[in-house]
Symmetry: C2
Subunit: 625 residues, 2 copies
């Protein structure tokens, strides 16, 4: 954490100095805004949090509820999301209060007494080495709380505007604020009153029944529900020994349960199989009562019993998989595709079963992907051409999600005798574990993702996948830290210069970065501000840190910051013997340049000897100064 | 973190449900209180934080200032203090924002050019294995902020009463509230107004010039100052390469500097030697200006330069070492020693040089030691005879502190040519490193610390020293965690039952704990409440967790909690192959009972076969129910 460089900070350093519109942010929703976000769920609130880092972007987020969400239904947090929360400053706090997924237990009918279940196998849930962070279970309200705090502490001082319901929008062909949004007060003294807010861009994060989606002519498309589940969050006394471990239970009578322990050491969620829904059911299954779900759970759990003391939430649902036909409004108009003005994110784009714990996670990445792009465009750093990449990138991810979840939820609902082998469910679970952990996202070649020509220089940083962090030693203060944990959600690109063995190519590259006419630093960094305003450029040396002499390191890696033009000392790193990042991430001993985008995905890999290629890569992404 | 067991928690689980006086805490300072704490520095605020965990104890803390402290001078945080902060729930957050001490650099005159300094050696500052936590540098205001937050979130809802100055007190011989304290409003609309608050106990945490100390006839006694230092917190540009590492610099002209990098990556503290102070100086040295200190620093640092851009704080001080002649008022009255009513803590008891970073840390342990004892006595859990142990225990620690600091600050002020060997300063630094890290405290045998008869059963938990944490695996959810990180500052004793190899002795002991007539559980735990209300009893098995069958574990280790009498699942642990706590802490394979007091010190070690000894140990410490 860097602070004090603008003068002594007398309070919590997580509260950044207000700047731009944060200096005098109006409490009332203004008539004109840069970005209007509809819905304060995970997709909406992360969009607001990231945009609050751009001090001159007027972002407002409206929410139909009159107050903070108190109980939400999503609770599965992938390791990829925890990495994301690290960038938003709250991974540690969330881990402290969450349930941590480790082993998964598989229970099947006892061969000697098929009326009873027995533990058949144990599988580690978290793939060793996939991430340094665990997978968690914690209610979505806490994620939203922390993201809202980040927004509030950011320079633009983001806050949610509660009590506004979205009614409709019109996109006009011209004007600075081409989107006219009609809102209606859903609470407060002027409840029912309508008003129009004009926006440059609108983000529809308003859930599965999204009215923003409808307003751009979109719809969710997908299959019919045919299998029903009861889900309940309960406080209970039981002799089932794995009640604090994720457990997949198949009973002899064909009933299934998924046990998901919850945060706080007592609460537990049960997904209880209610069986196939006849086509002519007509919604009758939804009348299943909580007593029936508890009774069914007790049957499936035999010989164990479940004495439910308190039900904090329960529901009956039928599995459905649906995907939006559009992520933005670029195709919504007759004639040529035009620049998008309205975007959809989160459940407005994809709905599916809850049991793989995917929904909130994909929604968060939707929002983050979109938000930094909007922030850069509206701040004048990037051209508008960046915005269509949102739809291009996230549409593929949503499709993969639906496909995966269909397969998983079908297997989860099968009877034991229908499997080809007794271990089929477990085998699928293990084979696909990287997907639910959130690490299968790989963006394809585009203006944001370079071709794989130089992938060999850094094989452990696959292009288009998220930067997989590794520890290194900060030379200035001899502190070991994960490089990736310094990727704040600040909307900047990271450029890692992995040095060659003797540092000669590194020094030549650093000279060019500082002085070359086609250096991206010179082309895209506005003069007069912080030297690292657009690019966070870090050196990673191959040597042990004792052998890195700071007096010999290029001034490129001591950028001057703040009103006193102080040197930053956090850019120079060294490999750690025994956990050498060059070994662990397959970095060439000739060095390499690795470019990471603001949402952590690996954007480009180049040799240290390259020059113009780096500027060329950024030319479609950043405006020259 | 255990929560939800009283019903679903809809906000931050760190905010505990209000209880007792926290349900309707009066905003105004009442006329009668159980404990009145004077001073909201580190010693005072930790006392208030711990007492706020006792819902029925009326604690108030008054502070002369009208508001939160914004800039304090203390900044050294021992690893022992970070362990303490873990118990108060904020170790992770403080580490995130603090400077982390790792290497210490020693600079001495360049033999080839004594006008210049050169790096002579590097020493790791944190002793590997002494603690899993680092040593930190961060301003004391942040420590106070977090402790105040803990108080606010605790059941009794502690808050500081600002704007009250302590004027004096009288201790009467009888009455429920025998201490009459006169306070004066130091700010606010009624500034200057005096009032009397009656208390059962008063804690003087009002600093080196303590008026509480004076009011019980105490004084600080010690040596004269004879060496002056300039200290400054600055933002600067320098080519001195170790400006982000703790550095001990001795220059050729006899001048010394201690460099202490500060939190936030830019700020740095310099202690600059201003030399011997002549006896007839008459305070003239204190007129030294900041320009002189900066100039002196530049001379000592040659060939490097220090270009100071901003000074956030500076001072000139003369080293003095003083110790109070009393820690409570038990000896302050003619005739027999009587039960103490007034206690002193922190700087009111001991002052010394700042450079070893000791003051705040010892003050925190003063306050914590006292607070849980006051809380237990005032809640009716413990007899009043517990209270004199505060003075008995902390007086020795303070004396050790002064002795250590005298030696360290003398060495720090010596000229290079006066050392017996060139490495003498560094050798002393290494040889004594456990002291400034905070781990040399070892309480002597007393009602709170058993004799060493059974020390051999757990050689890695020395009696009277702090419980040195080690990782283990929680069986219920297969989560690896440090046992010590579950020691919340909740005023309870911990009892660890390290199992024998086959568990037979363990099971017999558990049966006795549950059913024996002389079991401490039955003698001291009030019926009807949580089973673990007084004792947090945990099992640690020798086996890998896969081999611990929860269905076979005694119900002692599944205590029932809350209105629903839910089972707690966090009491059963297993050794981890490769980092086996039995190996790492020298636990007998026949098992052992280890008792830990509420402030983490090891109180007793007994064989699993013992019975009455455990109850006998607690008899003078707890009231029977």
């Amino acid at each position: 954490m860097e602070f004090h460089h603008h003068g002594y900070v007398r309070t919590d350093p997580r509260i950044e100095p207000a700047a731009g519109i944060g200096l005098n942010r109006p409490e009332e929703l203004p008539d004109e805004v840069d970005v209007l976000i509809v819905g304060a769920g995970p997709a909406g609130i992360i969009t607001a949090a990231q945009l609050a880092q751009f001090p001159n972007v007027v972002t407002r987020i409206v929410e139909r509820r009159s107050h903070r969400l108190e109980v939400g239904q999503a609770d599965g947090i992938q390791a990829r999301s925890v990495e994301t929360f690290q960038a938003f400053g709250f991974a540690g706090r969330l881990i402290d209060e969450a349930y941590q997924l480790t082993d998964t237990e598989f229970w099947t009918p006892d061969p000697e007494n098929p009326r009873h279940i027995v533990r058949s196998s144990t599988t580690p849930d978290t793939l060793i080495g996939v991430s340094e962070f665990p997978q968690l279970i914690v209610n979505q309200t806490r994620v939203a709380d922390y993201l809202a705090e980040f927004a509030r502490n950011s320079p633009a001082r983001g806050e949610v505007d509660y009590g506004y319901e979205f009614e409709g929008l019109e996109v006009e062909d011209s004007g600075e604020y081409p989107v006219a949004v009609t809102l209606r007060r859903s609470s407060g003294p002027d409840e029912g009153a309508a008003r129009v807010v004009r926006a440059k861009y609108v983000v529809g994060a308003d859930g599965a029944r999204s009215r923003v989606r409808a307003s751009i002519g979109g719809s969710l498309q997908g299959d019919q529900a045919d299998h029903a589940w009861g889900v309940m969050d309960v406080l209970a006394v039981t002799d089932f020994p794995d009640v604090r471990r994720k457990s997949v239970i198949q009973s002899g009578d064909g009933g299934n349960i998924l046990v998901i322990p919850r945060e706080g050491n007592f609460l537990v969620r049960f997904y209880v199989d209610l069986g196939e829904v006849p086509e002519d059911d007509g919604g009758a299954v939804r009348a299943t009562g909580i007593e029936q779900i508890i009774a069914r759970a007790n049957t499936i759990l035999r010989p164990f019993t479940l004495d439910v003391k308190d039900v904090s939430w329960w529901s009956v649902y039928e599995v459905a998989h649906r995907l939006t036909d559009r992520f933005d409004d670029a195709d919504s108009h007759p004639g040529a595709r035009r620049a998008p003005r309205v975007f959809l994110a989160g459940d407005a784009c994809h709905t599916h079963s809850a049991k793989a714990g995917q929904g909130m996670n994909v929604s968060l990445q939707d929002g983050w992907n979109l938000a930094w792009k909007l922030g850069q465009v509206l701040s004048g750093h990037a051209p508008e051409a960046l915005l269509p990449t949102y739809s291009d990138e996230r549409r593929v991810i949503a499709k993969n999600l639906i496909d995966f979840d269909k397969e998983w939820s079908t297997l989860m609902a099968m009877r034991p005798e229908d499997f080809a082998t007794p271990g089929e469910l477990e085998d699928f679970y293990i084979a696909t574990a990287e997907f639910p952990a959130g690490f299968m996202t790989q963006y394809q070649e585009s203006i944001l993702t370079a071709g794989s020509e130089h992938q060999g220089l850094a094989t452990g940083f696959p292009l288009g996948k998220r930067f997989k962090s590794a520890p290194a030693m900060r030379v200035s203060d001899a502190v070991r830290a994960h490089l990736g944990h310094h990727h704040r959600a600040d909307g900047r690109y990271r450029i890692y210069a992995f040095a060659d063995a003797d540092g000669s190519e590194l020094n030549a590259w650093a000279d060019w970065m500082l002085n070359g006419g086609d250096s991206p630093l010179r082309l895209f960094t506005p003069p007069g501000g912080d030297d690292d305003a657009r690019f966070d450029v870090k050196l990673v040396a191959q040597q042990d840190y004792h052998d890195v002499d700071l007096l010999e390191v290029s001034p490129l890696f001591f950028p001057r910051l703040g009103p006193f033009r102080l040197k930053s000392y956090e850019k120079v790193w060294a490999a750690i013997p025994g956990e050498d990042i060059f070994e662990e991430r397959g970095i060439s001993r000739d060095g390499a340049i690795v470019v990471v985008r603001p949402d952590h995905y690996v954007a480009n890999i180049l040799p240290l000897t390259s020059r113009g290629e780096l500027a060329d890569f950024f030319r479609p992404l950043l405006n020259e100064v």
